[in-house]
């Protein structure tokens, strides 16, 4: 099941399919239901054709025999009604706005923003539409980027603006918008050898200040922790359309491993659109468990939660390959984790003068 962009009419028909399932069940004298895939790590499988992880065949039926599920169904109907109205009026709203609008939905109102976010995802999965089709956009903004890349972006007035992400921007870089699809952004030209995705703002700023993008002919992309959809999507597009390698530079802890998995293989939560968001050709640069030992980095002991996360990763199909198993086991063995910025132990320039050049050389990128 490959998600493709839908027309307004197709979106409406897909949404009506969800309503129809409930209506028909009531006509038959059964409790109304909504059928959707199981969204856990036990139900994601590698899709060799797409090169990413997608939801497997396990399905869950949400039926109205318990109060909680029944309320979810009612909310889904309210959301569908709301989306249809937005489509008809040519409006869009943020997920948070929808959460507040639900105050007026009586019994169908959301108890938390998380609920409304999850429901939007549920509908994406069931209808195989994207939330862009639903006119819903996320709260979180995309990341920032610096490097010799030229693109054009359609502004609010509908005009295309040509932007070079090195010469036309300040120190904070080019701000990636929430929609990075072709109707909004077109890539024009570039002069970089690879894209480097960086977890923390501190490290991103360090590399910018040290002029790393120019010295090494690359584009720097700030992930802001677990990257937003638009961040993953723009990485995916650049990598695909320009055939550029992506290297990922993160902290050395179990949570960074997960960030990498969601970039390279697809996140469990968004496995229905992995082929849209994941960049299978990306490589984990560091910090690895090896690095902690090899560079003798200042480190912290693993917490109980860290250990639990690592153990969970050992059984996660996305980490099934030998290199990852080795890294995870090594981290468990040494019982330590380290931050990107611990490299500053050897001075502010160590990361750009020594660490990254050495690591990139291993990958044949330097």
């Amino acid at each position: 099941m490959v998600a493709v962009r839908k027309s307004v009419e197709e979106t409406k028909v897909a949404l009506h399919g969800v309503v129809r399932e409930m209506y028909d069940r009531i006509i038959k004298g059964d409790p109304p239901t909504m059928t959707l895939p199981v969204r856990t790590k036990n139900n994601i499988a590698f899709d060799p054709k797409l090169g990413v992880y997608k939801y497997g065949k396990k399905q869950t039926i949400r039926d109205a025999t318990s109060l909680g599920s029944a309320k979810q169904l009612l909310r889904a109907l309210h959301v569908i009604e709301f989306i249809e109205a937005m489509i008809d009026d040519g409006k869009s709203s943020t997920l948070r706005e929808m959460y507040y609008i639900s105050e007026g939905w009586g019994l169908g109102k959301f108890q938390s923003q998380n609920e409304s976010n999850n429901l939007a995802e549920d509908l994406e999965i069931v209808t195989r539409c994207l939330r862009e089709d639903f006119k819903l956009r996320p709260e979180e903004d995309g990341s920032r980027m610096i490097g010799n890349i030229t693109l054009r972006e359609r502004n609010r007035k509908g005009q295309w603006m040509r932007i070079n992400a090195r010469d036309d921007v300040g120190d904070s870089g080019y701000g990636v918008p929430y929609n990075v699809e072709k109707e909004k952004i077109e890539f024009l030209e570039h002069d970089v050898k690879f894209i480097m995705a960086i977890e923390t703002g501190g490290m991103f700023d360090r590399l910018v200040e040290n002029g790393f993008d120019e010295d090494f002919d690359c584009a720097l992309l700030h992930l802001k922790g677990q990257p937003a959809r638009s961040t993953r999507r723009i990485m995916k597009r650049m990598s695909e359309e320009w055939d550029l390698p992506v290297v990922v530079f993160l902290d050395g802890d179990p949570w960074s491993f997960r960030i990498f998995a969601s970039i390279a293989y697809g996140a469990i939560k968004t496995a229905h659109i992995s082929e849209y968001l994941a960049t299978p050709s990306s490589t984990y640069l560091g910090i690895t468990a090896d690095d902690i030992l090899a560079y003798d980095l200042p480190s912290d002991d693993l917490s109980k939660k860290d250990v639990e996360a690592l153990n969970a990763e050992l059984t996660d199909p996305r980490f099934a390959d030998g290199w990852w198993q080795e890294q995870i086991n090594m981290m468990l063995e040494i019982g330590k984790k380290a931050e990107q910025q611990s490299l500053a132990k050897y001075g502010l320039d160590f990361v750009t003068d020594t660490y990254l050049p050495e690591k990139l050389a291993e990958l044949g990128l330097n």
Partner: protein, 702 residues
């Protein structure tokens, strides 16, 4: 006066004024906030004790007013409607340290704790230089005596001034005290407010009004007209006696025979036991107690304590009588708690009296649970000894330890590691009634360790815990039923409507879906207090959401034992056991509902908050419990046995009391002569505490 006598007298004079200074912390005057609480405590305890002895329902007014903010001077006014104090006794009560009648009588009293009201007079004088103003009216005099009392600490004597007579108008008897002192008023867990609040919980027969320094009134109304049971003095029990006391008793005895002496002066000693005690102590039965030599007294003590045995066993003694105890009793604790803390669930338990080291004691506990209290904080612990609140040293107290010894997690409260004070929206009350309350120190704020008392306390906690768990389980069940109703009455129709409007199709019929969703018979029970009729209205709705016809017998619990009456019960039904009523219902067709309604009269608000509903029938009823027939049989059996027992008990009691009358005459006289009992004595209040614990449908809560 000999020189030695003079020296002794001098020593005493110095001692008494210094005694106070040196022992301020024992006496409860060590800090400015505590001094105020202690003063209120002494005055209020006296008022309650006096009213109890005189069989008067107490009305107590406590007022604190600011006199001088900068110097922390407060004025305390306490007024009661007690018997008053005869003019001649006023100066003794207020002006003499350690004056009191209760020091030798063995029975439960509030006055065991604290130095007495004289301490307040002394503290007032030491901190302000002013005397304490007292007004007292006794019933047989037309006007009240008014007098200012100061202290001559060197002579341990009162100094009277400004004596006068005042007209009190309508008020027949009572006592007013006005005293000023250096003290601080504070709010919170250790405050006058808390002291009075706690006092009101364990004295549900008292009406207490408190006016704080800001002029705000706090009123704890009387919730029962029943006075605490009259407490009787008892003779010492051999197990609890010490050598000195035994020597004194022997020396003061005028009995001519050891056996008579033993039987008359001790409780729990039968004629046979008296002979056996003499035998093992190697004393002649004919011996005069007065002539006993120290060795012989010691031998007698060893016999008392079971160190000297008869054929390998200690001499068998009866337990001391427990009539000297005055428990508050379950129903009244319930009322006391309910009026102070607004909450739905209260469970209480009065353990049967027990004995430790010759001292009778009794543990009572109460637990109140509900939304009004903080869920993430430790539960509030309300400790009492002989109806007096204990407010300090909670951690070191036996009663706290009894609470901490229980793993409350299994009963639905949070408790880190299953130890310590549990957390949750609850308050736990523990009351120890005893003739001899043992404290950890002279401060008298924490009870010292005692395994027997601890075990009793623990058992009571476990029992209450079970009640709490049942309540929580039931609440959860009811919550589920409510959810089901919301589901079929609100959510499913909303889904159908919205789906139909989105698809522009007609709204479908829901009956079949709803039957499938519920596939159950559901009972919805409400028990509510009706303000207008002063009755508790109960309704039980039964819906059949299955596809087949069903028939049931529905059973409910109701407060028959508490004297409640069932009225307006149009469906009739029949009695299944005491407190259990049953209706056999007509067959209930699919999709049909029926309702049982009735009201309960002759009970008060808060007496009956929950009705347990049971059913007999094959298909499960959500919101009711399947009747456990074995349990019901057991209840009936116990009831029968209980009735038979009672008849026997009454006969026994008659015989025993005749015997007792003769023996206890001397002590009874002493007790009565100590207090002035006014003419309007109410003496119908000996509570009937003979009820034995029995299996109930609800964890021993009824």
């Amino acid at each position: 006066m000999s020189i030695a006598e003079k020296m002794a007298a001098n020593q005493k004079q110095v001692a008494i004024s210094e005694f106070f200074e040196k022992n301020k912390h024992f006496l409860g005057f060590d800090t400015l906030t505590r001094a105020l609480i202690t003063a209120v405590k002494e005055a209020v305890d006296n008022a309650l004790d006096a009213c109890e002895e005189a069989r008067i329902l107490p009305d107590i007014v406590v007022q604190i007013t600011k006199v001088d903010n900068k110097k922390d001077i407060l004025q305390l006014d306490v007024e009661d409607n007690g018997p008053g104090i005869p003019r001649a006794s006023i100066e003794k009560v207020f002006g003499q340290l350690l004056f009191g009648s209760r020091f030798h009588a063995i029975r439960q009293s509030r006055g065991q704790q604290g130095i007495g009201i004289t301490g307040v007079v002394m503290y007032s004088q030491l901190t302000t230089g002013d005397p304490t103003h007292v007004e007292s009216k006794i019933a047989k005099e037309a006007t009240a005596v008014a007098v200012d009392i100061g202290l001559d600490t060197r002579k341990n004597k009162a100094v009277k001034s400004n004596q006068d007579r005042v007209d009190w108008g309508e008020k027949v008897h009572g006592l007013k005290i006005r005293t000023s002192m250096k003290a601080k008023y504070q709010k919170g867990r250790k405050s006058v407010w808390q002291y009075l609040r706690m006092t009101s919980i364990v004295n549900p027969h008292a009406d207490i009004l408190f006016i704080d320094p800001d002029g705000q009134e706090h009123h704890w109304p009387r919730v029962t007209e029943k006075l605490p049971g009259r407490v009787e003095a008892i003779k010492p029990h051999p197990n609890g006696i010490e050598l000195g006391q035994l020597q004194r008793l022997c020396g003061e005895s005028s009995e001519s025979r050891m056996t008579t002496f033993l039987r008359r002066n001790f409780s729990g000693v039968s004629g046979r036991a008296a002979k056996e005690l003499c035998q093992v102590a190697e004393l002649e039965e004919k011996l005069k107690p007065k002539s006993l030599k120290p060795d012989q007294v010691r031998a007698l003590l060893e016999a008392f304590q079971g160190e000297r045995m008869l054929r390998g066993n200690p001499v068998k003694l009866l337990n001391p009588p427990t009539s000297c105890l005055s428990p508050i009793e379950e129903l009244l604790i319930k009322k006391g708690l309910s009026k102070t803390i607004d909450s739905k669930f209260v469970t209480t338990m009065t353990r049967a009296p027990s004995v430790t080291q010759g001292n009778p004691f009794q543990i009572e506990v109460g637990l109140i649970f509900g939304e009004g209290m903080a869920a993430d904080k430790p539960v509030e612990i309300l400790r009492f000894a002989n109806r007096v609140p204990l407010m300090y040293q909670q951690g070191g107290c036996l009663l706290t330890k009894a609470i901490e010894s229980v793993d409350w997690r299994q009963y639905g409260l949070d408790q880190a590691g299953g130890r310590g004070v549990p957390k949750g929206p609850a308050a736990i009350l523990v009351h120890l009634a005893s003739t001899n309350v043992q404290f950890t120190s002279e401060a008298k704020e924490a009870l010292s360790d005692n395994e027997v008392v601890m075990e009793e306390g623990r058992k009571a906690m476990l029992e209450m815990g079970r009640g709490l768990r049942k309540h929580l389980e039931k609440k959860k069940k009811m919550g589920k039923t409510r959810e089901k109703f919301e589901l079929i009455n609100d959510i499913i129709p909303a889904i159908a409507e919205k789906a139909a409007s989105l698809l522009e199709l007609p709204v479908p019929d829901l009956a079949a879906s709803i039957t499938k969703i519920m596939s159950a018979v559901i009972a919805e029970t409400t028990t509510t207090w009706n303000k207008e009729t002063k009755q508790t209205d109960v309704s039980i709705l039964l819906y059949n959401y299955t596809s087949r016809a069903r028939s049931y017998t529905i059973l409910v619990t109701w407060p028959e034992k508490q004297g409640g009456k069932m009225i307006g019960n149009e469906l009739g039904g029949r009695k299944e056991a005491t407190g259990v009523w049953a209706w056999k219902l007509e067959t209930l067709q699919p999709g049909v509902q029926t309702v049982i309604t009735y009201s309960l009269s002759d009970i008060e608000k808060g007496d009956w908050n929950e009705t347990d509903v049971f059913y007999r029938g094959s298909q499960e009823v959500i919101g009711a419990t399947k009747m456990d027939e074995k349990l019901l049989d057991e209840i009936r059996r116990q009831e029968q046995a209980f009735l038979e027992d009672n008849e026997m008990d009454e006969e026994d009691a008659r015989e025993l009391s005749e015997e007792d009358e003769k023996e206890s005459l001397s002590i009874q006289e002493e007790v009565v002569s100590e207090s002035d009992i006014p003419a309007d004595t109410q003496d119908d209040s000996k509570t009937d505490s003979g009820e034995t614990k029995q299996t109930t449908l609800f964890g021993g809560d009824y």
